[in-house]
Amino acid sequence: MNRAHYRYFLVFTLPALAVYVVFAALPLVNSIWYSLYDTDSGVARFVGLENYVYLFTNPTTSERFWNALTNNLEFFAIHLLVEVPLGLLLAALLTSGRLRRSTGLYRTLLFIPTTLSVVIVGFVWRLIINPLWGLVDFPLLGDERTALPTISLMSVWQYVGIPMIFLYAALLAVPNDVLEAARVEGSGAWSTFWRVKFPLIAPQFGLIAILTYIWTFNGFDLVFALNGSAPGPNYSTDILGTLFYRTFFGSSGQLSDLDLGATVASVIFLIILVVTAAYFGLLHRRLRSYEL
């Protein structure tokens, strides 16, 4: 029977494993492998870390890289500081116990932007903040100082539903007898939320923060949909995803370079991996131990 188990296990998991390895896991590892080669001449030649040295010492590529990294950090920070608190507020309102039947309706409406494609989100907001329509007088997307915060807030508008749903699910899981006990002791809604519910859902924030980190450092679509592959003005909205795309795909004024593209991808992967590993290695378990 045990041997049969092994056979069934293999037969049943193999198809999924094959697709997952060939088109997801292996390409990530191979990116690192390719970044160590030079294939410009048509023949793959092992060059060690030469591509990395070029990326960080060539004045243009290194300037673009650090610019994209800084922008990406800002993109992430705006999500963390605006999207997560807003998601918490919405989840708290949805679970305040004052809504009865309308909860589902609000939840669905609030989540609709998340179901849209970025092409639509970008266009809608570009139209709304268009000075021609008169709602905003200032070219928010045309100014280097405001372009990135503007795009970040559009993205927050689209994705606030995700932290909202996570926190909503966590708040629903708070046991009723705990809430009943608070009510019996005369605790009001405000203090019940901060002194009873919030500490119980606090571990969720760690997970939301790390997911936000991974998603924003993997970001591309909205910036590309709005500003193309050399996102202006003057690269002020360039993030790592658009830099990666431009490097391996090429754009006007830049040739496509697969080796350097793989190198950029590996650096981004490292940036994501180090922080994610640090989170799960150091923080996650400690946060989880406070959970119910």
Binding site: V22, A24, P27, R98, L110, I112, F220, F269
Partner: protein, 277 residues
Amino acid sequence: MRNNRDRAGSLVTHALLIFFALLAVAPILVIVVNSFKTTQGIFGQPFALPNADTFSLGGYERVFTRGQFVTNYGNSLIVTVGATVATLVLATLAAFALTEYKVRFAPLVGGFFVLGIMLPIRLGTVPIIKTMISWQLMDTLVALILVYTAMSLPLAIALLMTYFKAVPGAIKEAARIDGAGELRTLSITLPMVRPGLAAVASVTMLPIWNDLWFPLILAPSKENQTVTLGVQQFVGQFLNDYPALLGALTLGAVPLIVLFVVFSRQFIQGLSAGIGK
């Protein structure tokens, strides 16, 4: 007094939620409403409903005559349905095996799959391009289906495992005693994990339909464009024809919004159970 305070609190809660719900939905309504107007109507009274003077279906006419909307829709449908079905079949088999057969390396394989929920698959694009070129799958819908299936499997497997774990062992034992093979035993448990399958289908479809990255890179030609890429290019080409642009955007968004409203319960359940854990 207590009652008055409760009523005030409930009023404030509703007021805030109505405000945020409007903030979420109004921009979409602005697009949909303006898509039924003439250009003058769009820029003259952007926030008014169409009236006899400003109403026009000209935008939609031009979308269908100048864009390739029917082709784009067909492509999106093939890719989304294809990848979703493939994900469901492969993930069901794998999740059943991972919960059913307690072989030594099962937790390892399970962990390897779950890791993929967080992996930024896009960063493997350069090797994916090379694989697709050597398999002669560049610029085909098959390439998209394969990549999206790989991308969706981790969350699908993690989700389905939680549902398979809840199936009582006695049912499977009874089936085996009756002489059912393992595949038959699996199919007997399927009705019990149906909510899981619905949750997986709904969380799988949405990111695939809306993705811009892989269609741009793996299937960019006119015949193979998905709706999302098609609308993106349409926006670039018809920059001054606002009625047509808004029509194209409406057509691109509406099917998914309708699908989401119908399946929102499954979707939200899938999202919170799959990643939140």
